[in-house]
Structure formats: structure tokens, C-alpha cells
């Protein structure tokens, strides 16, 4: 049996485990760490799928930037108060769980169904990527076909920055408390 596949399954199980622990850990900090783990395993799976570059970005941006931001905020708010595990099971929640399991069933059903079939084959076979190098190809596409999204996304980042400033920055701090 193909070694790739075995690794895939291993990482898959671990990713799912990480996800579940995000779902089930009580302390936000643990959750965050579990999420980092999940991202790691996903990155590994990306490698298996032949996209080392994306895997790297995944680690850098997600695990590196985003999750750090999460942890930073958690620490900042020092949410030591561990969320009591009673999830307050209300009827809607139960319904929700049932429903999401339903979604899962439907999705698996579709993905494994015979009718499901991939779209037309593209030009970028793993071999080509291997010889031309993923970074070069991506760069090329990014600055030709995707130049507009690339430019526009900057506006998005700009908005995000402004937003952070507007919302989080303290105007007129309350007396007797230095801004953190």
C-alpha cells in the first residue's frame, strides 16, 4: 500500500483529533494550542498533496501569525477563567449537533458517491510543478491572472488595520487605569 496514503491517514486522524480537542478542551489556551496542532497536521497533508509552498504559508501565517494573535489576546484578557464544561445543553444546541451531523452525512455521502466527478484536468501536473517549481508558477499566475485580486486584497488588509485601530484603540481612558 502506498506510503503516502498511510501518512495521509495518520495525519488525517491527528488533524481530526486536534479539531476534536479544540471542540472539547475547556481552556481557551488549550484550544488554541490544539488548533495550532491541527494546522500543523494540515500543513503536512498539504505537503503530501504536493504543495510545499502552501504548507509553508500555512505554518507561517496560520500557526505563526494568526494563532499567536489569538494567544496574545487570550493572555491579554487573561482568560484564566476556565470555561466550565457544562455546555449548557439547550434544545437548540442539541438540534444543532444533530443537524451538523446531518450535514456531515450529506457531505460524505456526496463526496463518496459515484456520480461525484472532478472537473476537467488542468495544465499543472505535479511533475510540472516539481520541475518548474511551485513558487515560480504561483508567482507568475499571481501577477498575471490574479493581479486584480492581489491589489484589491490590500484594501481588505487596510480595512482590517483601520478597524483594529478604531475598535481596539482606547480613546479617553477611564481614570485610575493605565491603558494596557
Amino acid at each position: 500500500m502506498d506510503i503516502q496514503l498511510i501518512f495521509f491517514y495518520i495525519f488525517a486522524v491527528m488533524a481530526v483529533g486536534g479539531a476534536l480537542s479544540v471542540l472539547l478542551f475547556r481552556s481557551p489556551v488549550y484550544c488554541a494550542l490544539a488548533l495550532v496542532g491541527t494546522f500543523g497536521f494540515l500543513a503536512a497533508i498539504f505537503i503530501l498533496l504536493g504543495n510545499e509552498f502552501v504548507a509553508a504559508i500555512q505554518i507561517l501565517v496560520y500557526a505563526g501569525a494568526i494563532m499567536v494573535l489569538f494567544l496574545f489576546v487570550i493572555m491579554l484578557l487573561n482568560l484564566r477563567t476556565v470555561e466550565p464544561f457544562n455546555l449548557k445543553w439547550s434544545l437548540p444546541k442539541v438540534l444543532g449537533v444533530v443537524v451538523s451531523i446531518g450535514i456531515l452525512a450529506q457531505m460524505i455521502g456526496v463526496f463518496t458517491s459515484a456520480a461525484a466527478r472532478l472537473g476537467p484536468m488542468g495544465a499543472y501536473s505535479p511533475e510540472r510543478i516539481a520541475q518548474e517549481g511551485a513558487v515560480q508558477i504561483i508567482g507568475q499566475i499571481l501577477f498575471t491572472d490574479y493581479v486584480l485580486p492581489f491589489e484589491v486584497i490590500s484594501v481588505l488588509l487596510m480595512v482590517a488595520v483601520i478597524g483594529a485601530v478604531v475598535i481596539a484603540k482606547r480613546r479617553l481612558p477611564p481614570p485610575g487605569e493605565e491603558g494596557r
Binding site: 437548540p92 444543532g96 443537524v99 450529506q106
Partner: protein, 644 residues
């Protein structure tokens, strides 16, 4: 002259307007002149018209005033007709009307509170409508008058509007009449659909050709018309309003509820005789109803103590007589009695009015007595009237007309013995209760309240003159209809018969078997003697032996109560008809159907929408998770729809 027929009703109308608009500012003298004046003038014109009519072609004058209603085939014009029937009627109406107006000047002279001018304007208006009724050449125009007189009687009965009894009586009169009018309206609808017109001449002219004898259609029409008549002319079962109508001022009772309006029913029947003769069933019904009314009313009359009520019931009873005549096809005789009755009943009412006037509006006969000395003219005229109505032989008007009726009820092809018997008994009863009232009022020792005793005196000339004139008429009025049996030997013609010769339709099966004169003599003798006995007996009993009268009354207490309470008919109607209807309307229709069902439904819809909102609101509990659940549920449903 016929171009000016419209003036006859127009004059009273003008009088009404003048009195109504200017009566208050210009005062009593003005009113006293305008009111009777207008009617007097109308009487003169009527007389002229009458005379011209007599030698007009077909003895008919007609005038087309203008087109009233025109819609498609339906077309009614305002036109007036004076023929032998209406000619006689307008004379009665304006003539008697004039006398009564004159009388009212005195009678209502001291009227302050309720406005003298109102009274006269109403009275004039009444005469206007009555003339319209009589002269109208279309059934619909006739109906206008018909309803108009109803309105006026409503207004005049309610003249003393402060009295609740008066107000109620007025409403009762109008409503009961309306029940009859319903019949009239439907009848006209049927007539229009049958004849395509409502012009009386055309209808009566073509009736025989368009309607099958005894057919359902003609029977229906005539029965409906008769229903109207029972309302207007106070026959069973709709007579109940007339006794209460005595709440009105006495001249009103005299004019409207004795002489003119109440005979409108007979006028209509006579007018449409051509239709009625085609409907034997209806004729039988009319005869029976008439006889029954005559009898019942008479019995009730015996137990009344209010002088005017006695007269009221006698009116009902006499009207019954007239219908009996109509019912047996003796239209002429019926009209004859209408005329004589107009004279003597108006006379009686006016006399009673004069008494009441003198007695300061005391109407209870038990508080009277011996008045003949104090007010001779009134007294004697009253006695004349009583003799006339009781049919004192040979002299008085009533005798001839009533006797004619009785004879016809026996001899006519429709009539029969039983009819005659009822009539005869009624005649005796009539004589009895009339002279009961005479005795109680004018003879015996005075029972008058001492406080007012010394005020009692004879009435002014404006009142006594009409009394005397009418007294005269009450005597000579009958001489126009002397039966051949009596007139033959001394060559006195039966003027009326000659006058109406061939005017009224006759029953198709007119092969009336001929009775020997002896029978006629016999019947006449029996009734006459009975009547005389009744008169004498009653007179004696109620002028001299009151105590004995009381004893006998107590002996038959239940019967007396029954009569005194008019067989509890009013209470019966109240309980059986009025109450249930009101209950149904109030409880079922309004409170349940309207409020509960329909509105309940309407508001229910609105409420349920609001409640639904309230329920859905609960999903909006502000917790993010639930909203997420909502999204997820929606997603699942959509997938499910799309995939499977």
C-alpha cells in the same frame, strides 16, 4: 274645470305650507282663517267638479299633471280622476273635513302648549293626502295618499307627544299600517307584472280579459290588497291600532279615524271591484273577516268606559259591516254605509269631543251623567247620532244603509244566513252599547267631579254649528238609499242605486235567486225590533238602574274582563310576535352573529397573526449559537431539497 282638478288637493297643501311656515309668527287668527278656509275652498271646487262630472262623458273627469316616474317600461304619471266614486268621496272628505276644521277652531281654541298652528297644518296636510288618495288615477299615486294619510294620522295621534301613551299609539298606528302597506306594495308589483301598468282605469278595464276567474294570481293580488285594507281600515287582525289612536285630539278621531281615512280601505276595494269580483275566495274571506270584526269589535265596545273608546270600537265594528257588504259583492251598499257612517260617526265623535271639552278632558263615562241638562245641543245631537248608528227605523240614515247591508248579506249569491245572523246580532249589540253610552253620559244623576261640575256648559257656536249640520245629515243622509221595499209604494226612488248604476263590477255568477218580499220584510222587522229592544234596555239600565248593571256585570265577571281587556289581543301580539323578533335580532343576529362570529373571525385573524409573531419572537433570543443553529438547519434543508 277639469284643468283645475289639481287645485282640489293643492289648496289644502297650500294651507299646510302656510300654517306650517307662517303659522307660528302670524298667530291664531291667521291659522283659524287659513286652515278651515283652504278646506272650504276645496269643498267648493269639489262640488263644482262633482257637478261637472255628472254630465261629463262616462261621468269621468281626468287630468294628467306630469310624468312622475319613468324607467324603462315602468311609467307612472301624476293624474287625477273624478268619477262617481271619487266624486262622492271628495265631497265627504272636504265637506265633513270642513265642518271638523271649523269645529276644531273652537275645540283647540285654548291650545297653547302643543301649538295650535301645528294642529291645523297637520290637519290640512291630511286632507291633501286624503284627496290625493281619492283622486289619484294611478295605483302608485293612490299609494302616496295612502301612506300620506298614515303619516298624518301618526303625527296627529302623537299630537300630545308628551304623553307616552300618545307617542306609543302613534308609532303603533304607523307600524301596523305599514304591515298592510307591505301587502299593497307587493300587490302593485304583481299588478304591474301582470298588466304592465299601474293606471287604475286600464287595470280595471282589462282585468276581466287578463285574469282568469278565481285564478291564483287574481286571488293573490286581491288578498294582498285586502291585507292593506285590514291595516288601514282596522279589520281583524290589524285593527289593534285604532282604539289606541283615540289618544289623538277628538276632531282628529272624528275626521281621520271615523269619517275618512279608515274608509280608504273600502275605497280601494270599491275601486278595484273589477278585480275582486274575479276572486270569489277573496270575497268570501272579506265577508267573513268583515263579519267577524263587526261582531268582535261590538262585543269589546260593550265593556269600555272611555267614551271615545266606545266610539272607536263601534267604528271598527261598522267598518266590519262595510267590508261584509263588499264581501258579498254589494259594493254600492258598502259605499252607502261609508257615507252615512261618515256623517253620524263624525257627529258622535264631535259630540263626545264637545263633552270632553266641557269636562276638562275627562273621558270616563262613569264620571259623567245627566249632562243633557247642561249641554242640550250636544246631548240631543249625540242621541241623533246614536239613533242613526243603531238603525232607528225609517228616519235615520243608519237604518237604511245597515238594513241594506244585512239584506245583501243574506240575499247576495255569496251571502248566507249565518252572515246575516252575525250581522243582526251585531246590530243589536251596537244598539245596546251606544245607548249604554247615551245613558251613562247624558242621563241618570250626575257623577261629575264637583270641582268641575259648575264649569260644565254648552260649547261655543264654532262647535255646535257643525254638530247641528252633521245631525241633519245623519238624518237625511240615508234617504238617498231608500230600498224599493219601502220606497216602492210611495214612489221614493233609490237615488244612490241609480247614481252608481253600472259603476261597480258585478259577480259573474250573478244569477241571484229571487226571494219573496215577505222574507225581506221579516228580516227587516227582526233586526229593527232587536235594535229597538237593545236601545231601550240599555238606556233604562244605564240611566236608572246602574247598581243592577253592576251586579249583572259582576255575575259575568270573567266575560266582562275578557271584553274589557279586548281579548288580550295586544298582549298576545306583544308576546308572540314583537318580543321574539326583538330577542332574535338582539341576541342572535347582533350579539352572536355580528359580534361573535363575523367580528370574532376578523379580529381572530389579526390576533393570530400577532400571536404567531409572538411565538416566532422566541427564536430571536439574542444568543449567537441559536442563530448559528438556524443557519445550519436552513443549510441542511436546502441540501436535502437539492440533493434528494
Amino acid at each position: 274645470m277639469s284643468d283645475y282638478l289639481w287645485l282640489i288637493p293643492a289648496l289644502p297643501l297650500a294651507g299646510f305650507l302656510l300654517n306650517g311656515l307662517l303659522g307660528r309668527p302670524l298667530g291664531k287668527v291667521f291659522t283659524s282663517l287659513v286652515g278651515p278656509g283652504a278646506i272650504g275652498a276645496a269643498f267648493v271646487l269639489s262640488l263644482l267638479a262633482f257637478l261637472q262630472m255628472l254630465d261629463a262623458p262616462h261621468q269621468t273627469l281626468t287630468q294628467h299633471a306630469y310624468d312622475w316616474i319613468a324607467a324603462g317600461p315602468f311609467h307612472v304619471s301624476v293624474g287625477f280622476t273624478v268619477d262617481r266614486l271619487s266624486g262622492l268621496y271628495i265631497l265627504i272628505v272636504t265637506g265633513v273635513g270642513f265642518l271638523i276644521h271649523l269645529y276644531s277652531v273652537g275645540y283647540m281654541g285654548d291650545e297653547e302648549e302643543y301649538a295650535y298652528w301645528r294642529f291645523f297644518s297637520y290637519l290640512n296636510l291630511f286632507v291633501f293626502f286624503m284627496l290625493l288618495l281619492v283622486l289619484g288615477s294611478s295605483l302608485l299615486l293612490l299609494f302616496v295618499g295612502w301612506e300620506g294619510v298614515g303619516l298624518c294620522s301618526y303625527l296627529l295621534i302623537g299630537y300630545y307627544f308628551k304623553r307616552d301613551s300618545a307617542a306609543k299609539a302613534a308609532k303603533k298606528a304607523f307600524v301596523v299600517n305599514r304591515i298592510g302597506d307591505f301587502g299593497y306594495i307587493v300587490a302593485t308589483l304583481l299588478i304591474f307584472t301582470t298588466f304592465g301598468t299601474l293606471d287604475i282605469a286600464t287595470v280595471t278595464g282589462t282585468a276581466a280579459s287578463k285574469l282568469a276567474v278565481g285564478g291564483p294570481l287574481v286571488t293573490g293580488i286581491t288578498l294582498l290588497v285586502f291585507l292593506a285594507c285590514t291595516g288601514k281600515s282596522a279589520q281583524l287582525p290589524l285593527y289593534v291600532w285604532l282604539p289606541d289612536a283615540m289618544e289623538g285630539p277628538t276632531p282628529v278621531s272624528a275626521l281621520i279615524h271615523a269619517a275618512t281615512m279608515v274608509t280608504a280601505g273600502l275605497y280601494v276595494v270599491a275601486r278595484l271591484s273589477a278585480l275582486f269580483v274575479l276572486a270569489p275566495t277573496t270575497m268570501a274571506v272579506i265577508a267573513i273577516v268583515g263579519a267577524a270584526t263587526a261582531f268582535f269589535a261590538a262585543t269589546m265596545g260593550m265593556a269600555q268606559n272611555d267614551i271615545k273608546r266606545v266610539l272607536a270600537y263601534s267604528t271598527v265594528s261598522q267598518l266590519g259591516y262595510m267590508f261584509m257588504a263588499m264581501g258579498v259583492g254589494a259594493f254600492m251598499v258598502g259605499i252607502f254605509h261609508v257615507m252615512t257612517h261618515a256623517f253620524f260617526k263624525a257627529l258622535l265623535f264631535l259630540c263626545s269631543g264637545s263633552v270632553i271639552h266641557a269636562m276638562h278632558h275627562e273621558q270616563d263615562m262613569q264620571k259623567m251623567g245627566g249632562l243633557i241638562k247642561k249641554m242640550p245641543i250636544t246631548g240631543w245631537t249625540y242621541i241623533i247620532g246614536s239613533l242613526a248608528i243603531s238603525g232607528f227605523p225609517l228616519v235615520f240614515a243608519g237604518f237604511y244603509s245597515k238594513d241594506a247591508i244585512l239584506w245583501e248579506s243574506f240575499a247576495s249569491p255569496i251571502g248566507g244566513t249565518w252572515l246575516w245572523v252575525v250581522g243582526a246580532v251585531t246590530a243589536v249589540l251596537t244598539a245596546f252599547y251606544m245607548f249604554r253610552s247615551v245613558g251613562l253620559t247624558f242621563f241618570g244623576k250626575s257623577r261629575v267631579d264637583p270641582h268641575i261640575e259648575h264649569h260644565v256648559h254648552e260649547s261655543p257656536w264654532t262647535m255646535t254649528v257643525p254638530l247641528m249640520v252633521l245631525g241633519g245629515l245623519a238624518i237625511v243622509g240615508g234617504w238617498v238609499g231608500i230600498p224599493h221595499l219601502l220606497g216602492g209604494p210611495v214612489h221614493l226612488p233609490n237615488v244612490l242605486e241609480h247614481y252608481f248604476d253600472g259603476f261597480f263590477a258585478t259577480i259573474p255568477a250573478a244569477a241571484a235567486e229571487h226571494y219573496p218580499e215577505s222574507t225581506e220584510w221579516l228580516l227587516m222587522a227582526v233586526t229593527t225590533i232587536g235594535a229597538l229592544a237593545g236601545m231601550y234596555f240599555a238606556y233604562q239600565l244605564f240611566s236608572r238602574y246602574l247598581a243592577k248593571a253592576a251586579q249583572w256585570r259582576d255575575a259575568v265577571r270573567p266575560v266582562y274582563e275578557l271584553l274589557a281587556h279586548k281579548y288580550w289581543i295586544d298582549e298576545l301580539y306583544e308576546a308572540v310576535i314583537i318580543k321574539p323578533i326583538r330577542w332574535f335580532s338582539e341576541t342572535v343576529l347582533w350579539k352572536i352573529v355580528d359580534v361573535r362570529l363575523i367580528d370574532g373571525l376578523v379580529n381572530g385573524v389579526a390576533a393570530s397573526a400577532r400571536n404567531l409573531g409572538g411565538a416566532l419572537r422566541l427564536t430571536q433570543n439574542g444568543i449567537i449559537e441559536n442563530y448559528a443553529v438556524g443557519i445550519a438547519v436552513g443549510a441542511v434543508l436546502i441540501f436535502w431539497w437539492l440533493l434528494f
